[in-house]
């Protein structure tokens, strides 16, 4: 199963504002819960999310334990040139994950 889903429009006109949707699969453990034998489940949340479009950062978020599992983001940015949108996120275990999607910009 994919670790995240990114959705962008098929083709965007140059200069147009378009929506990016990102859904990350992550348990977002708060560190406040206990397992069924009474041990604390260690905190493990995605704490940083960045999205880079053709080398420029277009979205940056810092997350805290109040965010539910499988965080969902939606933001808008402007189409400049065809290329790639890369979303990168890091969790408390130090694992950095990325997903990329190709973007086609028309004249």
């Amino acid at each position: 199963m994919a670790k995240a889903r990114i959705k962008v429009p098929g083709v965007v006109k140059r200069g147009a504002v378009f929506e990016v949707r990102l859904l990350i699969r992550h348990p977002m453990e708060t560190g406040f819960r206990y397992n069924n034998v009474g041990q604390k489940i260690p905190k493990n949340i995605v704490h940083t999310v960045r999205c880079v479009y053709n080398g420029a950062e277009v979205f940056h978020a810092e997350l805290f334990p109040g965010i539910a599992a499988n965080p969902y983001f939606s933001f808008f940015t402007t189409a400049e040139a065809s290329g790639e949108l890369v979303c990168v996120w890091t969790d408390d275990t130090g694992v950095t994950t990325s997903e990329r999607v190709a973007l086609t910009v028309s004249e």
């Binding site: 199963m1 889903r5 959705k7 949707r21 599992a69 499988n70």
Partner: protein, 425 residues
Amino acid sequence: MPPYLTRRQFFSLAASLPFARPLTGRARANTPARVVVVGGGFGGATCAKYLRLADPSLKVTLVTPQPQFITCPFSNAALVGLRPLTSLTYTYQRLREGYGIQIVQAQADRLDPTAQRLTLSDGHTLAYDKLVLSPGVELRWDAIAGYDAEASAVFPHAWQAGTQTRRLRRQLDAMQDGGLVVISAPETPYRCPPGPYERASLIAHYLKTHKPKSKVLLLDAKDSFTKDKLFLAAWERRYPGLLEWVSGAQGGRVTQVDTRTGLVRTEFDEYKPTVANIIAPQRAAAIARADGLDAGTGWCPVYGGTFESRVHPNIHIIGDAAIASPMPKSAFSANTQAKVCAAAIVALLRGEPVARPALMNTCYSLVAPDYGISVSAVYTVENDTIQVVPGSSGTSPLDAPETTRSLEASYARSWYDNITADTFG
């Protein structure tokens, strides 16, 4: 509510003061108390009946818009032709003739909590000493873009049994082998938590039997659901490849439908189903949200021991419209809440203490006609809040043999016969 005094403590304190009398302790002994019950489903019908059983001197009026009631329980079975809808249809004849309940066929339109009057769609008003609201749910037409009453004629919700059930049944019947059935399940809270999953199961059973090249896609706003381990294991065993569940985390939340192009959209994907069943998000029916009864939340906060509204006195709300969490919005919950509410109303009218109730619920679901699973719990009330009795809740075992599943399917049918007899008989 101030933290240092509960409502009940306040009233018992007030009653002990020299000149204060509870308003409801009726001194006029020769005037029967008037209780109006709105809604003729499992909550309303049961409450009206048990009010009269507990105190035959009460004048009980049941207001219901339909001359008969078609139950949602087992309507998933009717949907796929396992039993006729007529076998799920009940009239109020027994309540009228056997229990002396006055049945008024009308819609409850407006209420005046201060004057204690209810106005009906036919223009009549009913004065009450106690009002019980059990009107159930209404579908929210603002929750999924493009999904409103008109769209539900094309993409039925079938979440209120009757016309909608027949409509979806006709569509399933007309579908060619190889078709795609899309079901969308909402975020909680909604009526009948296991309902969408039972429905997906029984539609899969129907397709496996009659149209085996077809597929059911269950698009869900949630990442988990009641009895999910039992359902998922059963689907793996009975319907591999035929029934697929798309969780919220996989992008299953339906955000938009277009009945003209026949498209169903989630945040990430677009589907063109042959048959679409959109179980839209819900809220308490309009009369239960009148005069701020829902405190702006869409559902009605109540005191657990009496089901009296936390907003207006002398109005009790039971069934799907009430916030009775952790009890699910089920027929069984409504039935058991109705009895607790009836007992509380009788006690309050007599100025007697309200007994601490025991409430219970079982939700049976059919995965196939010979495959039943269940979840049950017993509840009590602590500080006006409903709580599960520790150790009382549980589900069917995960690794049970087929004989257990088949037995549970027969228990489900017995449960249905018993609860409908208790409610309407």
